[in-house]
Every structure is written in structure tokens, then in C-alpha cells.
Homo-oligomer: 320 residues x 2
């Protein structure tokens, strides 16, 4: 009897790990960690302010603790977190400390980490971003991984040579990318919905590029390391993109605070209910408001809301 | 006699400060600071490695010292620096320390600072990036500016509500933005050159949006806070964009290491030789190679090359 080993199946790739984790928890949700200092309950902020006079350090430590408690509350029911880098960069060095520590901590709890940075640049600079988030940086005598993340969101405006350095690191280190196709914001259409001379819309042409960049890279799950961002706030567009992006896991922002429902998100899943992950940030981080709990119960409220969201998504996918 | 004060003239705005500084030094050059540890001469790296065992800290300190010496070498002949964030993010926290310190030091020497981050996201997140680089972050009882920069490069893919939060901070704090229109990389055309149904190319439609976003914001110089990035490697496209972007200062990448000449860059200037600033990164940082000087003379070589570049640009603008 011969053993058959398919070296191209990429079984430990990002898409395999993410789809396995979604399947294990029966929950295609990603917790967006977009913290503002004002979100952190006063008891945590006061504890830190009493012990440290530098308000920027207090902010960094406060959001680290806020994130840690959110992760503790949901790591057994949500497969991944998505820290949005802007919210950490606004707190400078202590903010970046909070970002790195949040990524590290989420992984110790078995969660996957999607860094939401929407980075891109020309080839040599894209390579530096790819090292910063997906690969390793060469130091004097050692190479070091800088951030403990599994995937990064990237922007397609610069074309293929702004994408390839990220794909190279995906191959080397089993990481993934999610490329912006159709975003969830009100003015997304300003550029993305312009009609091309060949009849496609700009976002459809980007979807075709994303499909091409990912082509031939899919693992046993049927999905590969090149994912796409498709907002849930435009379900009509999403329905057309699922087929166009057959090997891409779709990262779906817009649920909750931005107004999209579970039914709106359902269009991004394949017929067998796979291939997408729905982000919720404020609706989970600040669930205590909706659930009429005190701010100190933000973690308990987040878990309750996460369970409700999981049920809503499961029902919407089943009832299409 | 009545004093006439035009409150809308924005005389201390970013565009006024940059055009005045370019005029004062008769040099439309920006020094791109895109450091790699390997660019730093061995004598600096060895000095730091002998005193610190953490190689990541050594990298951060080494590039800070490298940048400081470059700034010391040219601050009286070059009006601005452009640190590219990817190169700092690849060195993690010590890298971000180097970024903040480089910005601060350049300003103490009277240079303007353009942070090259090509950031963008949906409105609420774009607001966080705008606070991080152009505005201030609200802490427990104080507001604090996080980075000492004058302008930031941003990406247009998300449309107007990914742009407005940056424009708001520009107005509040006299800052500027440079929005990607036509980039300098080989695959720039993948998306940017697609033909629209109305006959324009995608990058032309972005130029029209950039013009609209900047409209009515120009100061006494004729230019406003909303600038554009137009690569010098495609001089044919640049010639058409200068008229389309009448109130925008154009940031021109691609000179030197990427292959564009001074004559290629000249298309981005107005008929009277104003309204653009040309970036050079590797050709200035690593000028010692071309000038056959030892690596330790990188700062002297940078100054010599900067003077040659200034002369080449002046001649190319005059001789069009």
C-alpha cells in the first residue's frame, strides 16, 4: 500500500486552520477589537490611573486589559479576533504595545488573529509590511517574527506588485491576506462602483484580480490564503461576488453597529454554509449597552451577544 | 485705511509652509527615510551591539542614529523628510520609537515631515488614523498629539467618507494629506489604468475626486491641504494630471532608484515651476555607493547627491 502525500494541499495553511476552527465552534464570527479608551470601564481606568501618572501608558494598559477580558469571555465560542491597527496607532507606542500583546494573548487562547491594517505600497515597501505582519525581520544575527498574527487585510490600489510580497510570506509562513473588494461604508461606491468600459464595475474587476492572485493556492478545504473583504451592508453586491471569488474566504464587515443583519451576511457563504467569516466590533465590545448591563459587565455582555449572533448567523445561513 | 484680513486664506496651512520652505531653499526635494538595518554602517551597529543584547532594540536605535545623521547632513538644503512607516513597523516597538523620534528630530531642524503610511479605512476608523498622525488623541484628562508630522499619505479606495476625517484634522491642525492617484510601481496600471465607461481612466477619476475634495481650500500660494501622489515613472500620465489637480501639491515618487529622471519629474510642476515635491529615498540614503565613498560617509555622500539632485531638478524645470 502506498502513502499518498499531496505536497500542494497546504493542509496547515491559514485557510485550513480558519475553516477548521469555524467548523469546530460552529461559528463564523470574528471579534473586532477596535478599542477606544472611553470604552474601558471606569474601574479599570481608575485602578491604572492611581498607579501610573502617564496618561498614554494608562491608555495602552487599559485597552490591553479590556481586550484580555473580552478574549477570556469568548475564546471558546469565537474562532478569531480582528484588531484594527488604527485604534492602536492612535495611542502611540503604548497603543502598539497593546496591539502586539493582544495578538499574542489571543493566540495563547487558541484564537486566530487577523490584523486589520489595510496596508499596501509599491513592491519593496509592501515587502516591509509583509515582514512586519506575516513574516520575519532580519536582525544582526537572528530573524524575528514581529507580530503574532495569522492574516492581514490589504488594499488593492497598487496592483499585483503591491500584493506579491504578501503572498510570498503567506507561502513561507502559512499566513493569509484579505484584499479589499467591496467595503461596507456609505461612500464605498465612489470609486468601487464606477462602471468600466468592458461592462464590469471597478469592484468586480478587483474581485477578478483577487481570484487570479489566489488561483492554484487552495488547500483541502477548497479555500486558499487569498481572501477578500466584502461588506455586508450591500447584500446585492455580495451575492454576485461569492461565485466570482470561489477560492477566497470572505471577511464580512458591517454587521451590527454598521447596520447589516445576519440575513445580509448570509449571501457571502457558499451553498453548504462555508467560506465566510462575519466581523462584529462595537456590537460585541459594547454589548452591555444593548443588554442593559453595567459597563463593568462588558465581558459577560459580549459573551451573551456573541451567542445570540452565532444563533442568528446559523439561522440565516440555514434559512436562505 | 481698512485692514483686510481674509480668514479663509489659511496662511499657516501645510501647503503654505511647504511651498514657502521649498522657495526658501530653492529645492523641491523630499528625503525619503526608508531605512533597513543593513543600510546602517557597521561601525554604528557594532557600537550599539556591544552595549545592548536585544537585537531588535539595537535595530531601532541604529536606524534612529542613521536618520539623525542624514537629517543633520541636509536640513539646510532639503525642505522635508518622508519616513515610510512600513520600514519602521518591520522593527516592531523599537521601530515605531525610531519613527516618532525621527519625526520629532526633523522638526527641531526646521524640516517638514510627511508620514508615508498610505492609510485608509471606513469613516470611524479613518478618524482614528487621522488622530494618530494629524490630530490629537483624547486621554483621561488631556489631549495629546501622538506623532509630530505635517502630512500623511492616504489611499482613495474607500471613497469620500474614508477621506473626510483626515480633511477635518487638516483644518483643525493645519496639516496636509497626499492622496494616491497614479503610483510609480510597474503594476500601477492593473487597477489605476482601467478604462471607465465615461472615457476616463480610473486614476483620472481619482484625480477628479481629489480635486473636488480639495476645492475651496487653497491658501495664498494657490495650493491647499489636499495633495496628490503621482509617480515620476509615468511622465506621460503626469503631464495630463497637473492641470486636473490645479490646487494640489503633487508628491512625486520614483526618482533615482526606481528609474525616473529629473526631466520625468518636471511634468508635475506648474508653468512657473511650483506645486510639486520630488521624493528620493535609496538614491540619497545610499548615495555613498554611487559616489564610491565608504559606508561610514553615507551622510556626506547624501549631501553631495542632494546638491546634484537639486541642480538636476532646477535645470529640468527651467529647460522644459
Amino acid at each position: 500500500m502506498r502513502m499518498s502525500i499531496n505536497l500542494n494541499s497546504n493542509n496547515n495553511g491559514f485557510a485550513e486552520r480558519l475553516t477548521a476552527k469555524i467548523s469546530e465552534l460552529a461559528n463564523p464570527t470574528v471579534l473586532g477589537l477596535d478599542p477606544m479608551l472611553e470604552y474601558v470601564p471606569a474601574n479599570i481606568r481608575d485602578y491604572l490611573s492611581d498607579r501610573c501618572s502617564d496618561q498614554l501608558l494608562v491608555a495602552g494598559m487599559a485597552i490591553t486589559e479590556f481586550n484580555r477580558r473580552l478574549i477570556d469571555a469568548v475564546y471558546d465560542i469565537i474562532p478569531a479576533v480582528k484588531p484594527q491597527l488604527a485604534y492602536y496607532e492612535q495611542y502611540g507606542r503604548p497603543g502598539m504595545d497593546a496591539f502586539y500583546e493582544t495578538c499574542r494573548y489571543a493566540r495563547t487562547k487558541g484564537m486566530l488573529v487577523i490584523a486589520d491594517g489595510k496596508r499596501n505600497d509599491i513592491g519593496t515597501t509592501a515587502a516591509a509590511y509583509a515582514r512586519a505582519y506575516l513574516g520575519e525581520t532580519q536582525l544582526e544575527t537572528e530573524s524575528r517574527a514581529i507580530a503574532e498574527v495569522d492574516a492581514l487585510t490589504i488594499n488593492p490600489y497598487l496592483g499585483s506588485d503591491g500584493i506579491e510580497p504578501f503572498l510570498e510570506q503567506c507561502s513561507l509562513h502559512s499566513k493569509g491576506v484579505f484584499i479589499l473588494v467591496r467595503t461596507s461604508n456609505p461612500s464605498a461606491g465612489d470609486l468601487q462602483d464606477l462602471k468600466l468600459a468592458d461592462g464590469r464595475l471597478v469592484y468586480e474587476s478587483v474581485a477578478d484580480m483577487v481570484h487570479k492572485w489566489g488561483s492554484g493556492r487552495a488547500g483541502a478545504s477548497g479555500f486558499g490564503p487569498v481572501g477578500a473583504v466584502v461588506g455586508a451592508t450591500y447584500p446585492h453586491q455580495a451575492a454576485g461576488l461569492r461565485d466570482r471569488l470561489s477560492e477566497a474566504i470572505i471577511l464580512v464587515p458591517g454587521y451590527g453597529a454598521q447596520g447589516a443583519t445576519a440575513a445580509d451576511c448570509a449571501h457571502n457563504f457558499t451553498a453548504d454554509g462555508r467560506g465566510a467569516i462575519v466581523n462584529a466590533s462595537r456590537s460585541l465590545m459594547l454589548a452591555y449597552k444593548k443588554r442593559e448591563l453595567p459597563p463593568e459587565a462588558f465581558d459577560v455582555a459580549c459573551r451573551e451577544e456573541a451567542i445570540a449572533m452565532r444563533q442568528a448567523l446559523q439561522a440565516a445561513i440555514t434559512n436562505r
